[in-house]
């Protein structure tokens, strides 16, 4: 259930680096726009500078979007981890254990067979399993969207690099 290899803090740090990069590229693109109209550059030089300016602006957008996406994902993963821990705490308190296939009743004799207690535990089990299914489905949807957006950004960055070659 918990992502063993995810680290929201590392995503957040990378997001911060990408946003800083985006700010630098944006500033450079703005600075490059100013002198292009000046009379001291030849047409070929102006075109060259314009090409760099456009690429800097494009990469700034891609870095900003990537940073926003990573930051959002870091927050989402941290929230997921919190939700899962809360669910596990509640399940444990209800006498449930988590196994390979999901939650189940703790093995052994846990007390007298009071119908209300048995029914309460069964209800807790159903609720825990339903909540697990909900969290997994939400995570799969969000992960798929994350991958798709990253692929779009990757393709766009590749286009920028190819245009500069």
């Amino acid at each position: 259930m918990v992502r063993a290899s995810s680290d929201p803090a590392s995503l957040s740090a990378t997001a911060s680096a990408l946003r800083t990069l985006a700010a630098h590229l944006t500033a450079a693109a703005e600075d490059l726009r100013a002198p292009i109209e000046g009379p001291r550059l030849s047409a070929a030089q102006r075109r060259h500078v314009q090409e760099v300016c456009r690429a800097a602006a494009d990469l700034a957008r891609l870095a900003q979007h990537g940073g926003d996406l990573l930051n959002h994902t870091a927050y989402r993963q941290a929230r997921e981890a919190h939700d899962i821990r809360s669910l596990e705490d509640r399940a444990t308190a209800s006498g449930l254990v988590r196994g390979e296939g999901g939650y189940g009743l703790a093995p052994g004799i846990s007390g007298v067979a009071v119908p209300a207690v048995v029914a309460g535990r069964a209800e807790a089990l159903a609720h825990a399993q339903s909540r697990v299914d909900e969290l997994v489905a939400a995570r799969q949807t969000a992960d798929a969207a994350f991958i798709e957006k990253l692929r779009d950004l990757t393709a766009a960055a590749t286009r920028v690099a190819d245009a500069l070659r």
Binding site: S10, T14, A17, P35, Q77
Partner: protein, 94 residues
């Protein structure tokens, strides 16, 4: 007093190339962990593509800077920046 001419793009291009180099170094040092293989693969691909584009931008920026007239580069580097308010000055400090 002679009017202050705007600096040429030479210093901006040079700073841009350095910023791209720094960004690539920073991204190479970063170890973002996204989760399972599919997520990590997509993230690594994005960062690789971005770094590739940044390397290209740095190279093209240096090329464009080198192609500028030497006199203009010297003027641009020695003349004071035009006054453009705090926002403009901050944007030049990157």
């Amino acid at each position: 007093m002679p009017p202050v001419q705007p600096p040429g793009p030479g210093p901006v291009l040079d700073r841009l190339a350095l910023a791209c180099d720094d960004a690539v170094d920073g991204l190479l040092d970063a170890m973002p962990m996204a989760g399972d293989r599919a997520l990590q693969g997509a993230l690594d691909d994005y960062l690789d593509a971005l770094m590739d584009a940044l390397r290209m931008l740095a190279a093209v920026g240096r090329e464009a800077s080198a192609a500028l007239p030497v006199s203009q580069r010297r003027v641009a580097l020695s003349e004071p920046l035009p006054s453009g308010g705090p926002e403009r000055e901050r944007s030049r400090s990157w």
